[in-house]
Amino acid sequence: MAIVAGIDIGNATTETALARIEGRNITFLATGISATTGIKGTLANIAGLRSSLGMALERAGFKRDEYKAVDLIRLNHAAPVIGDVAMETVTETIVTESIMIGHNPSTPGGVGVGIGVTILFSDLSRAREGDSVIPVVEAKHDYEAVAAGVSDALSRKVNVAAVICQSDDGVLIVNRLPRVIPVVDEVSAIERVPLGMRCCVEVAAPGRVVSLLSNPYDIASLFELSPEETKQIVPVARALVGNRSAVVIRTPLGEVRERRIPAGELYILGPQGKRTVNVEDGAEAIQNTIVACSPVENIFGQPGTNVGGMMERVRRTMSDLTDIPVGDIYIQDLLAVDTLVPQKVVGGVAGEFSLESGVALAIMVKTEELPMQRLARATSQELGVEVEVGGIEADMAIRGALTTPGVKPPVAVLDLGAGSSDASFMKTDGSVTLTHLAGAGNMVNTIIASELGFEEMELAEAIKRYPLCKVESAFHIRQEDGTVRFFDKALDPGVFGRVALLHENDMLQPLMLPGINVERVRSTRRKAKQEVFVKNALRALEQVAPGNNIRLVDYVVLVGGSAKDFEIPTMITDTLSRYGIVAGRGNIRSSEGPRNAVATGLVLSSIESGSRTKGGS
């Protein structure tokens, strides 16, 4: 009789399965889970391993630190150790000579279109009868004074066509005027608005968007442009699409252009030699090149560029952690996803943001067995228990997944973790093919954070994990599917009126991000999950399926931490059903859900290898 602990050190969690083995009979006693300490595959993992094992021991009726009760610890051969995720912005919008204002203030004043020449508000009293002018008002002027000045000018028959002002006074000014004119407010860098130039201001009615200034031909009509000049105005019109208010000023050389930032090239080494792809060509081009080079042997970035820096950083981190020389570290997979990143417009007058395109990259490094053996030795010394490195993660995952009721070979297993997505396929004869791919939960977090414009990864993790709601009153919320829920007790005032995340136990976490709504967060979250997990599921199955044909797979079992997500499994099930595949979340040993697959597999495989190495203890 022997007690065996299978311990799976993952990128995010360390999971333990504790079992008693008598001959060929295996009785599972308990499981444990705790956060992984340090980067997977390094000596720093031992702390997390202790607490995970301790938890399992305690649940099995032993003392928390009674490690001696265990006869054998089996660790997974943690192949992919490091996955790094980075964002590269590849475009930027530049406005020269401040020829447009498109910052979309929440409350512009009035409605309509006004065309005139820009003048300083203090010069308005000097404007003559019949002039069409657009006063530019600095924050030092009070709204009463502005309204009085404009009313006075209007009574002198000066055609004040519109107003551009710095403080948030649009509605206040219009409410005090004898007739309604469009007012664009909150223009922060008002001193940069060119004066004495022909200008057009448009404010749309609430709930509508500008129609004139977002149409190049209308701009051409307003400013009497030639066909060549109209071509140049197209980026301006494009930048103003979807805004409620807009200003276009005609200056001799002003323009809006989109610049592509040189993000660098990727060099991908495969059996057929080296291929080059430019990061700014986007995710699809990168992914096609990866497929063309498969199986990828190594990936380098162009030295001196952002991508080059990212690749070298990963190599260096990896080398520092494992003592393997930098030259011997191989990057074996890369996943690129197109994203949109809110970036400040260069040269903008009112702090405009524009959604620039970017590419998120996740990469994965293949490790040697060396560091795992070192970890095993160190663990053995620390705990005084025999430790062996059991087997490859995906192989173990499939053994664990087979304990799910209703599954039999041939079967494919997708292990969706935090750092990598692994796939394995077991044929009827028990032979296994497997693959490890870059890009999983952490990449989803990175995409969510950059698209919504914040830095905190904990917040991104929470957005990924919990559904959204809008708190509509102190007693009810509207969930993201439109259903309303009432509460008996008043909700925390901190969430009143806000978009919030609905945690377990009905705890609400308010999202304090400027200008967000439920729909935007939800679509960002779902898109990120689709792009990473669904894409990786297809990519992985293609690599392990017989003849690389996904249709030849009948059953797919989803395991791993990300398979516990509330929507990722359904997204994958939905996509794979088009290939006629039965796919669903695993239920390890009919009790563990999708977790603990690898740890269970490690215990199960000990009967085969265990008898060999341990000689029947």
């Binding site: 409350t107 948030d168 509605v171 206040l172 007693f475 008043a490 005032p493 304090m512």
Partner: protein, 231 residues
Amino acid sequence: MKINPELLEKIVREVLAGMETEIETGGKSEPSLSNSSPSNPPLPASETVAGVQMTEKGPAARGTDPKEIVLAVSPAFATAFKTTIVDIPHSSVLRQVFAGAEEEGIHIRVIRVYHTADVAFMAHHAARISGSGIGIGILSRGTSVIHQRDLNPLSNLELFPQSPVIDLPTFRAIGKNAAKYAKGESPTPVPTNNDPMARPRYQGLAALLHNKEAGFQDRSKASQELSVSFE
């Protein structure tokens, strides 16, 4: 700690003024919290204080207009007191709060609350009779609260407890955020300054001001609706 002579002088003046009132009223032992007869001289129903005219129109009723928020001020606001603790005129305070709400398309109804001098209860009372369910409370020294009718009185949506650091842009933002809550939007809470020296420097003065302010309360008098006009 550096002693600010101006502040000291102000405190001395406040104390002396308080003593005079006590002497005039025959040195009553409980000048501030007596139920029926406030120790301070009765206030006129309408008074113009440097730029704002506030006239009582009768008891404040429950509103039904979802586009309104209710602003509760204390009896001494813009009458016995004319400025906040940092000498911002009350007329400017009202003007900025009004402007903040008007910019968002929301209308403010002003009431004078007599039954309490606690800003949380004032604001909650305002929220309960507000058509939108959102109320604001402002004390004479500047302390402010944004409240919602379904909350507990001592809970709130946004609290601005340090009266010395509240400036006019903050009052504007208070009006704006209260209006946004009324519209069901989710505004970013108003950013406020924090001055760790505000407490040691102003606590004495704030206590005196509150004592004087509380002296005007009349627990038996219903809240009065005010018409406000600026000049």
